[in-house]
C-alpha cells in the first residue's frame, strides 16, 4: 500500500480517538462533514481559490546558496511558507477548517496556540468569514509572543491567557477542550496541528500537504530531479507532515524531522517527544509523549513557543517507527545560530521554529555531501521572534525599552 493512502484513524499503533464522551458527537460531526468535503469538488475549488487570492499560493521556493556555503556545499532550497498571508503555513489548515465550520453551520471558532501563529491564522480566518473567535494561549506564551497576542486582538479575536498547569501549549489545548465541552453546539474547534483525536491528524495533514505537493514540482523544475532530503521542524508536526506527505512514496528522498532539543536532549529541558518520549495517550491520540514513569506529562522546554509541546502527531510516530522518516534534535543555540546565519547570508529572518530545520539542514549538508539537494520547509517568518532574538543576541541598545 502507498504510504500516502493512510487516512487513519490509526497510523500503525498510533492515533485513534481517546476523548470524553461529551465531545464525541462534535468530533463525529466534524469527521462526517470532513469526509464529505475531502471528495467534494466545490469545497476543494473554494479552498483553492482562497489560497490563490488570499493566502498567496503557490508559495515560491528560494535556493539559498550563500547560506548553503555553511552546509558543506550541498544545494539548499527553501519552501517559502513564511511568505503566506499571516506569515506561516498555519493559514493553509485554518482556511480549510473555517470553510468546514461554515458547512457545519457553526458561528464561533475556538483554537489553541503556542507561538501564536495558529491563533493569528484562526483570528484571520474568523475575520474573513465573520465568525466569533476565542483563542487559548498559555500565559508563558502570551508573554514571549506578545506581538501575536496584539495581532489576534486587532483581528477581533478574544485571547484567553491560560494560567493552569505549565501555562504553555498543552494547557492551552486542555482549556480549549474544556471550553469546547460547554459550547459545542455553536462552536467549532479549529485544531492547529496534525495531532489530537481522529480526524484532526488526517484533516490537518490533508490541508497542509499542499506544501509538499507544490515543492515536489518546483524542485524538479529547478533541479531536474527530486531532492535527496526534505527537512522540517517538528512540534506537533503540521508543517513537517505537510512537506513530507508528497514524498512519502519516493523511497530515495530521505525525510528529516527536527525536534526542539532546548538545552540539549540529555538535559531535562527539551521538547524531543520522539527522541526521548515513549508511547502514551494525550489530547485524544496515542503517540510519543514526554512523560514520567506514572504517565504524568512532563513539561517541555524550547526557546520556540511553537515547538514547546510534549507530544507529536501520530503519523510522525508511525513514520519514525517504520523508519520512513528520521527525527533528530536541534538545540536552542543551534536554532538561534541558524536564524542569524540565514538572516545575514540571505536577508530572510526565519521563525525560530523553522530555524530548527535550518540548523538541521546545515548538518545534513555536511553529512550528505556537496552533490546533494536539501529541501527545507521555511514554515514561518521571524517577525514575531525579533524580541526573543534581540535578547538572545544582545541587539538592543542599552536603556531602550522593548515591549
Amino acid at each position: 500500500m502507498s504510504l500516502r493512502d493512510n487516512t487513519g484513524p490509526f497510523f500503525g499503533e498510533y492515533g485513534g480517538r481517546f476523548m470524553p464522551e461529551s465531545l464525541i458527537a462534535a468530533i463525529d460531526e466534524i469527521a462526517e462533514a470532513y469526509e464529505a468535503c475531502r471528495t467534494d469538488e466545490s469545497f476543494q475549488a473554494e479552498l483553492r481559490e482562497l489560497h490563490r487570492s488570499y493566502t498567496g499560493r503557490p508559495s515560491i521556493i528560494t535556493e539559498v546558496s550563500r547560506f548553503a556555503e555553511h552546509a558543506g556545499g550541498a544545494r539548499i532550497i527553501l519552501k517559502r511558507e513564511d511568505l503566506n498571508h499571516t506569515g506561516s503555513h498555519k493559514i493553509n489548515n485554518v482556511l480549510g477548517q473555517a470553510l468546514l465550520t461554515k458547512r457545519l453551520g457553526k458561528t464561533r471558532v475556538i483554537a489553541e496556540t503556542g507561538a501564536g501563529q495558529h491563533g493569528v491564522a484562526t483570528a484571520t480566518a474568523a475575520a474573513l468569514f465573520g465568525l466569533e473567535c476565542t483563542v487559548y494561549m498559555g500565559e508563558v506564551d502570551t508573554q514571549r509572543q506578545a506581538l501575536n497576542v496584539a495581532r489576534m486582538r486587532l483581528l477581533g479575536a478574544e485571547v484567553v491567557s491560560v494560567t493552569t498547569g505549565s501555562r504553555t501549549l498543552k494547557d492551552a489545548i486542555n482549556e480549549a477542550y474544556r471550553e469546547w465541552v460547554t459550547s459545542v453546539e455553536t462552536t467549532n474547534y479549529v485544531f492547529g496541528t496534525a495531532a489530537g483525536p481522529h480526524p484532526f491528524p488526517l484533516m490537518v495533514r490533508d490541508f497542509q500537504k499542499i506544501i509538499g505537493e507544490e515543492a515536489r514540482e518546483q524542485v524538479q523544475e529547478l533541479t531536474g530531479r527530486l531532492p535527496d532530503a526534505v527537512a522540517a521542524c517538528v512540534g506537533g508536526g503540521s508543517n513537517a507532515i505537510g512537506i513530507f506527505h508528497a514524498f512519502l512514496d519516493d523511497p530515495d528522498v530521505r525525510l528529516f524531522g527536527f525536534e526542539a532539543a532546548g538545552d540539549g536532549v540529555d538535559t531535562p529541558r527539551h521538547a524531543a517527544s520522539i527522541g526521548k518520549g515513549r508511547p502514551g495517550v494525550l489530547h485524544g491520540a496515542r503517540s510519543y509523549l514526554l512523560q514520567d514513569e506514572d504517565g504524568q506529562t512532563i513539561e517541555s522546554h524550547s526557546i520556540s513557543a511553537g515547538l514547546d509541546y510534549p507530544g507529536v502527531g501520530p503519523e510522525h510516530a508511525w513514520l519514525a517507527d517504520i523508519k520512513r522518516a528520521e527525527y533528530r534534535p536541534t538545540t536552542d543555540t543551534e536554532a538561534m545560530d541558524a536564524l542569524r546565519l540565514l538572516s545575514r547570508t540571505e536577508g530572510i529572518i526565519p521563525a525560530i521554529e523553522s530555524a530548527h530545520a535550518l540548523a538541521g539542514a546545515l548538518k545534513l549538508g555536511k553529512e550528505l555531501g556537496p552533490e546533494s539537494t536539501i529541501l527545507v520547509n521555511l514554515s514561518g517568518r521571524g517577525d514575531k521572534d525579533v524580541a526573543t532574538a534581540g535578547e538572545w543576541f544582545g541587539l538592543f541598545d542599552e536603556g531602550a525599552r522593548q515591549a
Binding site: 485513534g16 461529551s22 463525529d28 493552569t164 498547569g165 494547557d171 506514572d294
Partner: protein, 267 residues
C-alpha cells in the same frame, strides 16, 4: 461474576438505596490532597457521613474534564509528590476502615503507563470496585473491557446529552456499576441550576436499557441531590466536597457530606 455476589458492590449499594425509595450519594475526592493520609481520612469521613459510594480521583497533569477547584487540588497533590501507586494504598486503608465500595476515577494515560492488567490486579487486591474513565469511551477501551471482564471490576463509562441513541445503547452495554450521566454540557464545577438535560438523558438511558444511572457534574447542595434522585439512581458530588476539604479540612468536609446526604431523604 463473583464480585457481583458481594453485598457491597457498587450496583447493589445503589439499588438498595433506590429500593428503599431514595437513591445513592456518590462522593468524589482526589487521592493525595492535601496529602495522602488526610485524603484517606477525608474519604472515610465521607463514608461515615452518608456517602454510599466513594469515587477516588487519580491526580493527573492534564485533567481536561475538571474545573478549577478540582484542578487546583489535583495539581497540589502532584506537587506534594503523589504517585499512582498511592491509589492502592489509599483504597486499602479506606476499605479497612469503612464498608463502602470504592471506585477509582482516572484519566487513561496513568493506567496505560502503569499497565492496564497490573493496575487492575492491584486495585482488586486493595479491595477497589472498579474504574470510572472520563476520557475514554467504550469504542476506545478494548484493553480495559477485556481486563475488567477478567477481573470482575466495574467499568463506569460516561453518557452525555449529545450522545446518540446508538452510542447510549453501546455505553449501557459496556458499563458495569452504573452509567455516569453528565448532567449538562460542561466540566466539573458548581452550578446553580441543574440542566433539564439531565432528566432527559436519564430517560433516554432507561430506554437504552440502563438499570443503574447516576447524574454528575454541577451538583453542589442537598436540594439538587434531592431533585436528581427524583429521576436518577444516584447523585455524584465532587467539586463541593473538594472545596469543603480545601476550605475547612476534614471536619468541614464531614459537615458538607452529612448535609448533602440529607438530600437523599428529603421529602
Amino acid at each position: 461474576m463473583n464480585a457481583s455476589l458481594n453485598s457491597t458492590t457498587v450496583e447493589s449499594v445503589i439499588q438498595r438505596r433506590r429500593d428503599a425509595g431514595s437513591g445513592a450519594l456518590v462522593g468524589y475526592l482526589p487521592v493525595g490532597f492535601p496529602d495522602l493520609a488526610t485524603s484517606v481520612d477525608a474519604a472515610v469521613a465521607l463514608a461515615e457521613n452518608g456517602v454510599d459510594v466513594l469515587e477516588l480521583g487519580v491526580p493527573y497533569s492534564d485533567p481536561v474534564m475538571d474545573g478549577l477547584v478540582i484542578q487546583r487540588a489535583t495539581q497540589e497533590a502532584l506537587k506534594q509528590g503523589f504517585r499512582v501507586r498511592d491509589v492502592f494504598t489509599a483504597v486499602e486503608q479506606i476499605r479497612a476502615r469503612v464498608d463502602v465500595p470504592v471506585l477509582v476515577m482516572t484519566y487513561w494515560n496513568p493506567v496505560l503507563q502503569y499497565g492496564v492488567d497490573r493496575f487492575a490486579d492491584e486495585l482488586v487486591s486493595a479491595g477497589g470496585a472498579g474504574l470510572i474513565t472520563p476520557d475514554i469511551t467504550p469504542d476506545a477501551a478494548d484493553d480495559w473491557i477485556a481486563t475488567s471482564d477478567r477481573t470482575g471490576l466495574d467499568r463506569v463509562f460516561l453518557a452525555a446529552p449529545t450522545s446518540s441513541d446508538e452510542r447510549l445503547k453501546r455505553t449501557v452495554q459496556a458499563t458495569r456499576g452504573f452509567v455516569y450521566a453528565v448532567s449538562t454540557m460542561g466540566i466539573t464545577g458548581l452550578r446553580t441550576d441543574l440542566d433539564a438535560a439531565a432528566r432527559t438523558l436519564i430517560a433516554r438511558l432507561r430506554v437504552a436499557g440502563a438499570s443503574t444511572a447516576c447524574v454528575g457534574i454541577g451538583i453542589s447542595n442537598p436540594e439538587q441531590v434531592h431533585q436528581v434522585l427524583e429521576y436518577a439512581d444516584g447523585a455524584i458530588v465532587g467539586t463541593a466536597l473538594v472545596k469543603a476539604l480545601a476550605d475547612g479540612g476534614v471536619s468541614k468536609l464531614a459537615e458538607t457530606a452529612a448535609a448533602l446526604s440529607a438530600g437523599t431523604t428529603l421529602n
